[in-house]
Symmetry: C2
Subunit: 226 residues, 2 copies
Amino acid sequence: MATKARNIQRREDALSHDRIVDAAIELLDAGGEDGLTFRALSERLATGPGAIYNHIADKDALLVAACDTLVARTLDAGKAGSSPRAAIRTLALALFDAMDAHPWMGAALVRAAGQSPSVRLLERLGQAIQALGVPRKGQWAAASALLHYIVGVGSHNAAQSQFARARGLARDRHLGTLSAQWAQLDAALYPFVRSVSAQLPAHDDRADFLAGIDLVLGGLASAQKK
Amino acid sequence: MATKARNIQRREDALSHDRIVDAAIELLDAGGEDGLTFRALSERLATGPGAIYNHIADKDALLVAACDTLVARTLDAGKAGSSPRAAIRTLALALFDAMDAHPWMGAALVRAAGQSPSVRLLERLGQAIQALGVPRKGQWAAASALLHYIVGVGSHNAAQSQFARARGLARDRHLGTLSAQWAQLDAALYPFVRSVSAQLPAHDDRADFLAGIDLVLGGLASAQKK
DNA sequence: ACCTGAACACCGTTCAAGT
DNA sequence: ACCTGAACACCGTTCAAGT
């Protein structure tokens, strides 16, 4: 009915940056990084593959943009107040959960080093580090250590689930076979990995991730006390 | 001259797993992950692309194998004695340098999650963690936190240099433009990143990396004191 | 048992031609 | 200004045919 308003009568199905990115996220969630294809994407958007290039530079930019909207969404959700330490922990967990739900995010975050999504993240981490009272000189190192750790865990887990997916295995089944492989390693060369293989299938990734965050936070606290 | 010895007179140019992996490493070093192609590889080995499949399952396995030989080489070099803490630090730095010299290694290590190269690494880290006196319960979390951090930094730096390479920029020039971009961010939204943008081009990646390792080690030490 | 290399089924990206 | 879709220059991988 709003036909009189100047010329906002854009077609219902008009292409746009956001519509493309949303469709890309759906493809990535459904089929992993291999599932995102300009042909599949243009089919879903009912257009030709060339049309997408009117809105996005190339596939890399598309992946980064998809990652960016999810990071932004995740950071928006995790406002909260409480202590800086608690803020860092909940922020980290929110990212862990997002990367767990969207296994392609980890790799995308790595690829986007220095670009928008990691800058968003670095900002939030940096503000929290400042609030923690870390002295100016150490803020950058602390924030980027957290960033690298978070991204490292995320992309590692992503690779695991991609590996399992490629072989058509469920995650726990994959961890089971991995644990069996580890248990059969040479006892002289791999004592630690062998000793730890039994707890591999049952262990809680999320808790381990948080334990790593706590180690960094503990290191920051003990450095301040001195 | 050794022509009499049974039938070890294999052709000088015979294909083998090791020869293929060595050639792959050269291609990866020269052209990054995009530089590794079955066609380029078979050309360098003076054979057809199909021949490689007699020795290696697929491209993923080739990448993991290439990464594995470099990780093994790096770990062999870094024996040393001294304190467990010093051992962890030198081990971490050796890996940093290897990933700096071979920027594709970081991504390959991620892709090989749970497989040979990361198992090697986890073993060494785990042994050092044990030597550090970390109680049994916390050993896995500590070792994998270090692993994830190391891999996170490595793949992050790799992405940076890949990004710069794709645009034909030298690394420092790339950091310069990145720093300028950061300085122009919205002051209300990005106070931390802006405040830190100036030190971006001049900062020492290697020192920052080590600072992160020290934070984790500090966290471990303070957890033990309690 | 290993190699050869053409062929297959895809990619991302470009670009003339349309509207 | 945007879309269309055929075409280009690649990929990884397979497989009949050779040795």
